[in-house]
Amino acid sequence: MLQRISRPTAPRTTAAVLFAALALACAPRATVQSAASPVADAAPAAHDMSSMAGGHAGHTMTGLDAPVTIPPGALFVEADVRFMQGMIAHHAQAIYMSRLAEAHRANPRLQRFAIKIDQSQTTEIHQMQGWLRANGQFVPDTSSYHTVMMPGMLTPEQIAQLDGANGPDFDRAFLVLMIQHHEGALMMVKDLFATPRAGQDVDVSVFANDVVAVQTAEIGLMRQMISSIPQGRP
């Protein structure tokens, strides 16, 4: 059944609460069927991300390697399915990053911006999962970001860098890394549309174009925010 967690609590957790959650996260990984929430997923500490090293290689893809069967008459192709599955992992990592903002004393404006990314991408994960489910495809949960490496996603070292920063240093690291992350999403859309016969399904096409519109806009805002971070040590 659905695990009910009030959304705003996560970004507003104190460091202590966050660390408590980190401990919980050391419990065995949620399986695909257990619907681990992005909140629980937001918890693992940097060392926990090491499983991401090497991306696809040598790791389970939490079922992403499950075969794709395209029903007769469908307008989508395998690339559409892979895009939706991969973007769930991509979004989940962005949510993880966003939920670090408060505990790492990001400036208030960046904290609001992080909540916005969190709220936006959480609902988009639901959309992607809904589309995959409706089309009879494997539906990854958010834990897939531990094992799936998509363009722009942070390496364990980058996660460690972000997690080790505070205040303006965090702001700067967050913005730089989130720009990288968003640009990876744009790359994924570009690759999708460059694939013959892909992106013709209306839902996929609308969703992918929304990703481009929203994340391009956010990249612009993040660049502006970088230039407003105080120079030098606080």
Binding site: I5, R7, A35, L75, Q119, W131, R172, S205, A217, S228
Partner: protein
């Protein structure tokens, strides 16, 4: 009624930085709203309304009847004479609305064309086409060969609404998510279509001459421009893409705080500090849509991370005047000018329209409207936010969406669709205090899963019974006032016709005055100037407003009301004399009135009415 009081008295140049800081944490109002907790159902959902009532609801034509994702979703509306043109991702419907209580389907054209936003000019219907699955021949089944792919604007001749005739496809490099009609300032037989395309430029193999470049100023670059189509009305089959409107050039550096570098590499503060930001242009390369106000030669562009103000005196060479950005906005989506052209309401389509962004926990300053004023030197200043004040469920895709002005004299009123947040009427006369005047809302299409409020937890692979399994996209795509009624395009359910009802916030006279404004064609993103005839309801609208805002002493408003009633009972020269005398009395009220400007306007309206009485 609720306003978010974040008085952003900042200039556009500093907009990016000041916005979020001044907007405090906003919460939904406590207490109950009749819209909360409405019963769900596709065709039998619970309904709540204030200040408006449903005149008719008609389901989709059978050809488009499905609740499967976005496929066959209804999109936007255009208005011409007795007909309303309703776009659909798979074609369009023409409704005969002569009897608003019983709209009749005149024709249904199946033509796969996401998203199918329509506009009408005379007998020509224009339909936006984007997406990789659209074919030149309108067929379904997808594009098999790249050369069959159609993205741009389809033109139909609807001189016989029962038998629309295909004229041509005009292809553009970025396709057409939306488009806006811009009449030629002098030539009556030429119009332009400003085309907002959301895709990257198409490959040369599909459409020759398209280039995905990095330099917004590069004339050969297709990416950073608004495409412009020139339509000769006598020969629409000769419509062509004439040029690109480069309204984005230089935008990456525009809205920054004074004295700060536009972009630039912050000095590293410690070993291991973040790497330098990656270099690339950051400004938008597309508007979701643009709204023009031809009478004032102005365009308000809702362009990704920016709201733009553009001079369109020369429609082929528009010039950007001002830009505003705001970290609280996700995607500047559409714009509505006030009738005096001094204000703009911008909407933010946070979540793309398919997500439930009006929940109790959703940020109030996002996914709603913002009011912006235009100064004498034609620069934007951002003022306040407005979002529907009722918390929607996780089952309801909801965010600020399309709307247009309601012609009530003396006030800035608009109707607006909020997807499954319903339709509402907003007063933005005071840019710092927009508020809600009325609404119409239905419960969600899908039933609520176990009372969950916020969908943080991804649904399990096997959804619970009754859960957000379908996540049907529905609700009002756009709601627009046209010749007496508010029409709303219901994405999933069909077509709604609504009527304004008097409340303490909107009088019968104001509603009657609105009905006096009639248009032959109406395309919400090509705003006509509202002009009222000399009429008693117009004068009485001002009087009602003075009573409501206590802009004039009660004894005087009562006396004026009686004098108007007496004059209305007269005719010809007697009426003229009585009204002229009344106007002279009202002139004297100006000095002592709290709302002197409105009293002065009312005196002028009484004089105009006197002149019309003979």
């Amino acid at each position: 009624m609720r306003q978010i009081r974040s008085f952003l008295t900042i200039t556009a140049a500093a907009g990016v930085f000041a916005a979020a800081a001044t907007a405090g944490a906003q919460t939904y109002p406590t207490g109950t709203d009749p819209r909360d907790a409405l019963a769900s159902g596709r065709l039998d959902a619970g309904v709540a309304a204030k200040g408006m009532s449903l005149v008719s609801f008609t389901t989709k034509p059978a050809q488009f009847d499905t609740a499967r994702g976005l496929t066959f979703a209804n999109s936007d509306l255009a208005f011409g004479g007795d007909y309303v043109y309703q776009g659909n991702f798979a074609g369009f419907t023409i409704w005969d609305v002569r009897d608003a209580a019983h709209p009749k389907i005149v024709s249904v054209i199946k033509c796969t064309t996401s998203q199918g936003d329509p506009s009408i000019y005379g007998t020509l219907l224009f339909i936006s086409a984007e997406g990789n699955g659209n074919r030149k021949d309108c067929g379904s089944g997808g594009v098999q060969k790249p050369e069959d792919h159609m993205a741009g604007v389809r033109i139909f001749d609807v001189s016989d609404p029962a038998n629309p005739r295909f004229v041509m496809n005009v292809e553009t490099c970025k396709g057409s998510h939306t488009h806006t009609i811009v009449p030629h300032p002098k030539k009556k037989d030429v119009i332009y279509l400003y085309v907002s395309g959301s895709q990257a430029a198409r490959p040369n193999t599909e459409l020759a001459g398209c280039v995905n470049g990095d330099d917004p100023a590069d004339e050969s670059n297709s990416l950073f421009r608004l495409d412009v189509i020139r339509v000769p009305l006598d020969h629409p089959e000769r419509s062509t893409v004439v040029t690109g409107a480069r309204i984005f050039t230089g935008l990456d550096a525009a809205p920054r705080a004074a004295g700060r570098p536009a972009r630039g590499r912050p000095a590293p503060t410690a070993p291991g500090a973040a790497p330098a930001p990656p270099p690339a242009p950051t400004g938008p390369r597309n508007c979701h849509d643009v709204t023009v106000y031809p009478e004032r030669h102005l365009l308000a562009g809702a362009c990704g991370s920016y709201g733009l103000l553009v001079d369109i005196r020369n429609p082929e060479k528009p010039v950007r005047l001002s830009a505003v950005a705001d970290t609280n906005f996700s995607l500047w989506h559409t714009a509505v000018f006030s009738n005096d052209g001094r204000k703009v309401v911008f909407t933010d389509e946070w979540g793309g329209g398919t997500s439930p962004m009006c929940q109790k926990s959703s940020m109030m300053e996002m996914g709603g409207n913002t009011t912006v004023t235009i100064s004498d030197d034609r620069k934007f200043t951002q003022h306040a936010y407005f979002k529907i004040p009722s918390a929607q469920t996780a089952q309801e895709n909801c965010v600020s969406h399309n709307g247009g002005l309601i012609p009530v004299p003396g006030r800035d009123l608009m109707a607006q669709g909020w997807y499954q947040g319903g339709v509402n009427v907003i007063d933005f006369t005071d840019a710092d205090h927009p508020f809600e005047v009325g609404y119409f809302d239905r419960g969600s299409i899908d039933p609520s899963p176990l009372g969950a409020d916020v969908p943080v937890t991804p649904a399990p692979a096997t959804p619970p019974a009754g859960g957000r399994a379908r996540g049907t996209i529905g609700g009002s795509w756009g709601a627009y006032y046209f010749n007496g009624y508010i029409y709303s395009s219901e994405i999933d359910r069909g077509f709604d016709v609504l009527e304004l009802k008097p409340t303490d916030q909107l009088s019968a006279n104001e509603i009657a005055a609105a009905r006096l404004v009639r248009f032959e064609n109406y395309n919400p993103q090509s705003q006509p100037r509202l002009v009222w005839p000399a009429a008693f309801p117009v004068v009485r609208s001002y009087l009602d407003q003075l009573v409501r805002n206590q802009g004039l002493a009660a004894a005087r408003t009562t006396a004026i009301d009686q004098a108007l009633t007496a004059a209305e009972a007269m005719s010809g020269r007697d009426r003229r004399r009585a009204l002229t005398a009344l106007a002279a009395e009202v002139d004297k009220d100006v000095a002592g009135a709290k709302d002197a400007a409105r009293v002065r306007t009312m005196a002028a309206e009484i004089r105009r009415l006197a002149a019309a009485s003979r």
